[in-house]
C-alpha cells in the first residue's frame, strides 16, 4: 500500500465515495439477482408477485428452454465459433505482428496502415455486400461463412496489440538465431510464439468475449437453427415478443452463466486487455 494514496481525506469525501460506489454496485447487481431468482418461478407467480423470492423453486422454465430453444446446439455452436475464430486471430495476429516489425521491409508500413484502417470499419458497414458475396459463393449458412468474418473483424485490434508487443522483443535475439542458421519461419514458431504468450492471453480473452457475444453476423449470415449461436438463438425463441416470461428468464440466465464463469477466471486479463487497447493510440 502506497502512502501517497492513503492521505487523510474529509469524512464528507469518504461518505460520498462509499455512497457512490455502493449505489452503482447495487444498480449493477440487483437486476442480475432478480433475473436469476425469477427464473425459478412459475408464470403465475412472476405476474402476481414480481419482487418476491420463489415460493416453491422449480426448474420447469429451464426444461422448456432446453426443449424448445435448442439451447444445447446453440451453446455448442457458440463454443465452436468463439474457439476457432479466437485461435485463428491469435496465431495470425502474432505472425503478422512479427512480419510487420522485425523484417525491416518498406512495405510493412503500408500493410500496418491498412490494418489500422480496419479499426474504423464496423460490421454493419459491410453486411450488405458480405451477404451478397456469401449467398453467391455458397458460404451463406455455413460455419466457415461465420468464422471468416469473425476472424477478419478480430484482426485489426489484435494486430495492433500484437505489433506493439513483438516490436519490444530485442532484435539481438532474432539476429543471434539467424547467425545460428535458423530460418525466419523457425524463429516464429520457436522463439516469437513462445515469448508472446502474455500478449496472446490478452488477445484471446478480448477476442473470445467479442466473438461469444456477437449477434449481427450470425443473425444475417445464417438461417438454420443448427447454425445459430447462443445470443441469436435466445433472441429468436425468447425475444421481445415472447409472452412466456418464465421461459425468457431461464433463457437469459443460460445466456449469462458461461460468461460469468469465464469472467471469474479471466478478469485480470480482461481488465488488462481493455486498458491496453485504449492506451495504444
Amino acid at each position: 500500500m502506497k502512502n501517497s494514496r492513503e492521505k487523510k481525506i474529509s469524512t464528507g469525501t469518504l461518505a460520498f465515495s462509499y455512497v457512490f460506489l455502493i449505489l452503482f454496485t447495487l444498480v449493477t447487481l440487483v437486476p442480475i439477482v432478480w433475473m436469476t431468482y425469477s427464473s425459478f418461478k412459475p408464470m403465475g407467480e412472476i405476474m402476481m408477485h414480481p419482487l418476491a423470492w420463489p415460493a416453491a423453486p422449480t426448474l420447469a422454465n429451464y426444461k422448456k428452454a432446453f426443449e424448445f430453444g435448442h439451447i444445447g446446439t446453440a451453446f455448442l455452436n457458440s463454443v465452436f465459433y468463439s474457439v476457432f475464430a479466437t485461435g485463428a486471430v491469435v496465431l495470425l495476429s502474432v505472425a503478422a505482428g512479427f512480419a510487420l516489425t522485425k523484417f525491416g521491409y518498406k512495405s510493412s508500413k503500408t500493410y500496418t496502415g491498412l490494418f489500422t484502417l480496419g479499426l474504423l470499419i464496423t460490421v454493419n458497414s459491410v453486411i450488405t455486400p458480405l451477404f451478397i458475396m456469401e449467398t453467391s459463393t455458397g458460404l451463406y449458412n455455413t460455419r466457415i461463412g461465420v468464422l471468416l468474418p469473425y476472424i477478419a473483424f478480430g484482426l485489426p485490434m489484435a494486430i495492433l496489440i500484437a505489433t506493439s508487443f513483438v516490436r519490444a522483443i530485442p532484435d539481438a535475439l532474432i539476429e543471434a538465431a539467424v547467425i545460428d542458421g535458423a530460418t525466419y519461419t523457425a524463429i516464429f514458431w520457436k522463439i516469437i510464439l513462445i515469448i508472446s504468450t502474455p500478449v496472446m492471453a490478452t488477445i484471446s480473452v478480448l477476442n473470445f468475449l467479442n466473438n461469444w457475444n456477437e449477434f449481427l453476423l450470425v443473425f444475417t449470415l445464417t438461417s438454420g437453427q443448427d447454425m445459430r449461436s447462443l445470443p441469436v438463438s435466445i433472441n429468436s425463441f425468447a425475444g421481445r415478443l415472447n409472452q412466456d416470461y418464465g421461459l425468457q428468464f431461464a433463457a437469459l440466465v443460460i445466456g449469462t452463466i458461461p460468461m460469468f464463469v469465464f469472467y471469474i477466471f479471466a478478469h485480470n486479463s480482461l481488465v488488462k486487455g481493455f486498458g491496453e487497447g485504449a492506451i495504444k493510440e
Partner: protein
Amino acid sequence: MLQNREKKRSYYALLMPAFIIYISIIIFPILMSLGLSFTKWKNYRMVGFVGLQNYINILKDPVFQRSIWNNIQIMLISVLGQIPLGLILAYLLYRKWVKGAKFFEMMIFLPITISSVVVALLWNRIFSPVGLYTSFVRQVTHNPDYVVTISESPAFAMIPILVVLLWQHTSLYMVIFMANLQRIPDSVFEAATIDGAKEHIIIGRIVLPELAGVIFTCSVLAISGSLKSFDLVYAMTGGGPVTYTYVMALYLYQQTFTFANYGYGSAVSIIIVLLSVGLIKLANGLYAKAQKKYE
C-alpha cells in the same frame, strides 16, 4: 542470398493469411458497397444505375432523419454520461479511500461480459408492468397503477435505451481510466500531498491533464461505437413503437434484409462510414487545437 530469399518467403507466409482474409472480408466489401450504392434493385436483381438518387432519398426520408437524431442521443449519453461516470468511478477506486475497492471493481465491471441481446431482454422485463423497476416505484409511491409510459412518447422513447446503455458500458471506460491512472507516477501524488494540495487541485492540475489523451481516445471510441449500435436496440424495441427508436444500423438492416433493397442499404452503410470518419476527423482537429492552446 539464399537466406534473403528465405526471409522474403517467410515474410509473406506470415503476413498474407491475415492480410488476405482482412482484405477480402473488410476492404473489398466496402468498395463493393460504394459501387452498389449507386444501383437500384428489384426482386433480388439489379435493375439499373441511379447515380446519387439513393442518397437523396435516404436523406429526405423522415425515418432516417429520426434515426440520425436517435444516434446522436446515443452519442451524447456515451460521451457526456458514460465517460464522466466511468472517470469518477475509476478515480474513487484508484485512490483506495474505500475498503473493498477490488470487490467494487469486479462487480461494477460485470455487465461487460453479458451479450447485448440478454441485456436488452432483461431490461424489457425490468421496465414491464410486472417488472423490477415498475414494482419498486409502485411500492415507493403507493400508486398501484404505475406503468412505464415514457417509451410510448415520440420525443422521449429513447430514454429507456439510454439508461440501459449507461448500465452496460460505463464500466468499460472505468477500466480504461483505471489502467491509465496507474501510469501516473506515485511521486507526483507524493509531491502534491507534501505541498498540501487540496483534492480538487490534485484532480484539476494533475489527474485531468494526465488523462486528457485517453479521455479523447475514449470519446472517439464512444462516437464510433454509438454510430454502430444495433444489437441492443434491435432486441429491446426493434425500432418501435412505430419508428420512434430507429437507429441508422436498424434502418440499414431493414432496407437490406426485409426489403432486399441492396443498393439503398449500401448507400446507408456508406453514409454511416462517412459520418464516423468525419466525426473522428473533427474530434481530432478539435483536440489538436485544444492542445495548441494549452502549450
